[in-house]
Amino acid sequence: MTFVIKDCALISMATGLRAGNLSEFKATLALAPLECVYHHFWGALLHTQFDDPEFKNDFAVWVYRELRDDVLAEMLAVLDPADYADLGDLRSDIIELIEQRLEQKEWLAWVPAVRPFYFLRSQIVVFDTGKRADSVEELAELMPELSAGSVFYHVIDARRRSPVGCDDFSAWLVGLGEEYAPLCHSLAEIDPYFGSLTDLRWQLVEAFRTFLEGRGRA
């Protein structure tokens, strides 16, 4: 089985929905397409990063910068979308956290944001890189050269495409046989949300390298 390395880009689309305070934000989020939740949690990973961002998702960043509420920003920042198989559940938890915070500080509902929140969704466009791997060794060799878009496509977008929510590398390895189960296990332990796509790529490189070295020793 050949592994086909693909690349991708996200094209942002406006929904026309916006929120000027937390009350509006909560109400609009409840109605917004679920793709918005995906875009605002995962989309930023493909943006140019100048430093390690304090908050990973757009909702937390907005609450922190535009509403200046550190507590809610931290509550939202700790949500890990990788923990949710269903974006609807993630949305419900965000709304729940907002309600919790509003119970503590009711007036926060009406504090005007410095800048509104614009709800976006995205279209993904997928490309063929022309790169192919016919073995785990070949894939490991190509891994350090993967673009951010390739890492996004094969790890993050894959979770949406896969019926069992796994990355493309693991799905391919399963088909190669039981001997690759330890590598699948290592890949499953990587948190795709915590770092940048560059960090994620190096974690993948490391997982493949460790596995192949271990097999070489055995």
């Binding site: 086909v4 693909k6 690349d7 880009a9 094209i11 942002s12 689309m13 406006a14 929904t15 026309g16 793709e35 140019t48 100048f50 430093d51 800048r115 509104p116 614009y118 976006l120 279209q123 993904i124 466009v125 997928v126 490309f127 063929d128 890189t129 022309g130 673009s147």
Partner: protein, 417 residues
């Protein structure tokens, strides 16, 4: 083949060009028409003059047409422009009639091309009403808004919306500008062409010639703002900021350089105000450049120590992109598309007042090493986000999405198989 794609591959990377080829494959020979209101001057004309050859090189049958209008028409559309940017300037009823009549005349003139086109891009409000005259259109029509429409005058928006709602999609430079419209709204920032006269590498001899021609001293701090003479670009605010900063750097010089655009009837008035404000100050150079003085603009940006774009409203601000591409730190107004490009403390500074601009000028002149690092980051940022290859990629994706009625996923690898 003219080698254009190969040249792009050298700057933007071979992957970027390969992606364009994959996207263009199902669109070979497709008739794509762009229509705007001016052939020269301003960002839209610049983008189209570079995007069309790139699309043609990729195998699309791309054309660019310019509408013809009377001075009264452009007075009306300038009022639209001002009103959409939040400075209410309502056209009179007779002016709206002129607007619609000019659109009808242009629709008739361009009908053979537009009826045949499979995709039509209409840029900004000037030609937007033409869609009304093609009720049986077969192609997909897309409205491209380059204006900061984040706070439009409601009456003008309501008037234009009657035309805009019939489009198949619209494009805005920032999410802030998008409005409620009954079709997909793409967020696609503009881009620059690294090989155009504005951005290509220049010989040292040419640059020094420009320095000499305009009587500039390259050994003294030089601040440059390149933009049309337009109140939204705040040239008077730039002069104020310069004067505040000059007390700390007496040898500093300021260049305010701009060209005219045929669709901007207010330029002369604003230019006169700028001349009056700069009167008697030899350190302020107000340069009225012809709209095709691209290499002179390029040279001025290259000799600048700091580039300013202190706009109060800004659709995108291609001059910011150009400056970042040349490795210059940018002090920009905290408005519109400038926010997308000027990342505080990384590629420059966002400011909200002449005083803020003066403070940042002082900071950057005192810390040249920081200014240099910001410039490096800025160039990398443009390479990754604001080159013409990315704009072409987004346009091709949009076309494919509309033609194939795809909403979420455009998978070029599946179409191939």
């Amino acid at each position: 083949m003219t080698g254009l794609l190969e040249r792009y591959a050298e700057v933007a990377g071979s992957d970027a060009v390969m992606q364009l080829r994959q996207l263009a494959e199902p669109l070979q020979g497709m008739k794509v028409v762009h229509v705007n209101s001016t052939k020269v001057g301003g960002g839209v004309a610049e983008i189209l003059s570079q995007l069309i050859p790139l699309l043609r090189e990729l195998g699309l049958d791309a054309e660019w047409h310019v509408i013809e209008g009377s001075p009264a028409f452009f007075v009306c559309t300038k009022k639209f422009h001002n009103s959409l940017q939040g400075a209410p300037d309502l056209p009179f009823e007779e002016e709206l009639q002129i607007y619609e009549r000019v659109n009808a005349e242009n629709a008739e003139r361009l009908a053979p091309v537009l009826k045949e086109a499979e995709v039509v891009f209409i840029d900004d409000p000037q030609p937007a009403a033409m869609i009304r005259y093609f009720p049986q259109r077969k192609g997909k029509w897309i409205w491209r808004c380059h204006i900061d429409a984040s706070h439009p005058d409601r009456r003008v928006w309501k008037y234009l919306r009657q035309f805009l709602k019939d489009y198949d999609a619209s494009i805005f430079s920032l999410p802030d500008f998008a409005r409620m419209l009954p079709h997909p709204q793409y967020v696609i920032p503009p881009a620059i062409d690294p090989f155009s006269g504005k951005n290509c590498e220049l010989s040292e001899e040419f640059i020094q010639g420009v320095v000499k021609d305009f009587n500039l001293d390259p050994s003294c701090p030089l601040l440059v703002q390149i933009s049309r003479f337009d109140r939204f670009k705040d040239p008077l605010g730039v002069i104020k900021a310069f004067r505040l900063a000059k007390s700390f750097f007496p040898s500093a010089q300021l260049v305010l350089a701009g060209g005219g655009a045929t669709d901007d009837p207010e330029g002369g008035t604003v230019l006169a105000e700028v001349h009056a404000a700069a009167l008697g100050d030899p350190a302020i150079h107000v340069l009225e450049l012809p709209s095709d003085a691209h290499r002179i603009v390029n040279a001025l940006q290259r000799v600048a120590w700091i580039v300013l774009q202190k706009s109060l409203r800004e659709g995108f601000g291609l001059t910011v992109t150009e400056a970042l591409w040349k490795g210059k730190p940018v002090i920009g107004g905290n408005a519109g598309g400038i926010r997308l490009q000027v990342i505080n403390h990384h590629t420059g500074f966002l400011v909200s007042s002449p005083e803020g601009a003066a403070m940042r000028i002082r900071y950057l002149l005192q810390r040249p090493e920081n200014a240099r690092r910001m410039g490096e980051k800025g160039r990398r940022y443009v390479r990754e986000n604001f080159l013409m290859t990315r704009l072409a990629r987004d346009h091709l994706t949009l076309m494919l999405a509309l033609l194939h009625r795809e909403t979420e996923r455009i998978d070029t690898t599946q179409w191939k198989s």
